[in-house]
Symmetry: C2
Subunit: 211 residues, 2 copies
DNA sequence: GTCTATATTTCGATAGAC
DNA sequence: GTCTATCGAAATATAGAC
């Protein structure tokens, strides 16, 4: 199985909550669920296979390795965040661009909670993906517009931006992430209410940009 | 390496202190570093032992199991957060109590970054600790004042508190956590500057409590 | 307290039948 | 596409010498 063609298509067409059309997507849905609940390293292929109803070996018909399953899930998020790349590249730390960026991220995050949780809770596993030459070499990653996290990091590390403003940019992201991660404490609250409350918080955090 | 543990004696100079606890604390320091950098599940006892300079089997003289090492690190955080328990028990969602609580947490978090990171990045490993009967039975946990996280959860889940205020409480915690987790983007910024910037953000988030 | 083994388990991954 | 069976590696944990 070649990653180059087969993995790119579902990444752009499938939402995290989408129905499990193909076996491949069913595997990803189950894996996403288990990776979030138990962590990537603590989840064995045997468990994934058991939940799917077939044997562990069958997974290898659809995915080259366990890491390639994780990679496919990363590509799902990649597809979701593609839309904010223009904002990032234009220097989102200027003016009110950052607030508009976070506004869009709030919607994306609320509609794809589990995918966000996956990335927040398994940082190291994704970092290992990037480190692993055997994964990179297949050429699915490493496109110029793939490194959304790198663009964020560059913006937040820019020393020409005042420290207090960088803290506020980071804090706005953390506020969204924190509410998302502890979303079970807010169970029953409609997404729309959560979104507007979050937007109000973000606006207060970013309201007064220092000179 | 940077240590900020209040309860335990730092392991760097261990001439006068008890020799038995010295190695034990050194193990914990190394384990904390590796668990944060690589994750709990991805860190083997062999790696910990190698960094300490002795063999893997020697660890079992000091700790009953790998999970007991993690438990000891949890108890370090437990000691740090004991001071805020009165605020939590008195109902921190009222008035400006929450802001005072977060103010204190900011200092604790900044002085013990790695310990905070450990808990944020290895949530599932700690959850497994609580699930595992073999660990609980030893009676180290399960005291009534041990469940700081439970008290937080209870406060944030309280339906009698307006949703917008609960979001703001959560967001203030997320802001602190977010800045801490991405602290490498703010490398070089003194802790004092970080703390005051964070306090300003938290104040803006919590400034106007809804009726 | 630390060592050298080794027991035991689990995992990711492969081979080959169907 | 899925199966059974198994390999090899690595992990936790134990046993016993020093």
């Amino acid at each position: 199985m070649e990653l180059g063609d087969s993995a790119a298509v579902p990444a752009t067409t499938t939402a995290a909550t989408g129905p499990a059309s193909s076996t491949r997507e069913r595997i990803l849905d189950i894996a996403l669920d288990l990776f979030v609940r138990k962590g990537y390293a603590e989840t064995s292929l045997r468990e994934i296979a058991a939940e799917l109803g077939f044997s562990k070996a069958a997974l290898y018909y659809h995915f080259e390795s366990k890491q390639h399953i994780l990679l496919a899930l990363h590509l799902r998020l990649h597809g979701l965040t593609e839309g904010v790349l223009p904002l990032l590249e234009d220097g989102a730390s200027a003016g009110d661009t950052w607030e508009r960026l976070v506004d869009r991220l709030i919607d994306i995050a609320l509609q794809n909670r589990r995918l966000i949780e996956l990335h927040v809770r398994n940082r190291e596993a994704f970092a290992a993906l990037n480190r692993d030459a055997a994964i990179e070499k297949h050429g699915v990653l490493q496109h110029k517009n793939d490194d959304v996290e790198g663009l964020f990091r560059a913006l937040l590390s820019d020393p020409s931006v005042p420290t207090e403003w960088r803290v506020r940019m980071l804090a706005s992201l953390g506020a969204v992430g924190g509410v998302l991660l502890a979303a079970d404490a807010l169970a029953g609250v409609p997404d729309a209410e959560l979104a507007s409350a979050l937007r109000a918080v973000v606006h207060d955090v970013l309201g007064n940009r220092p000179a």
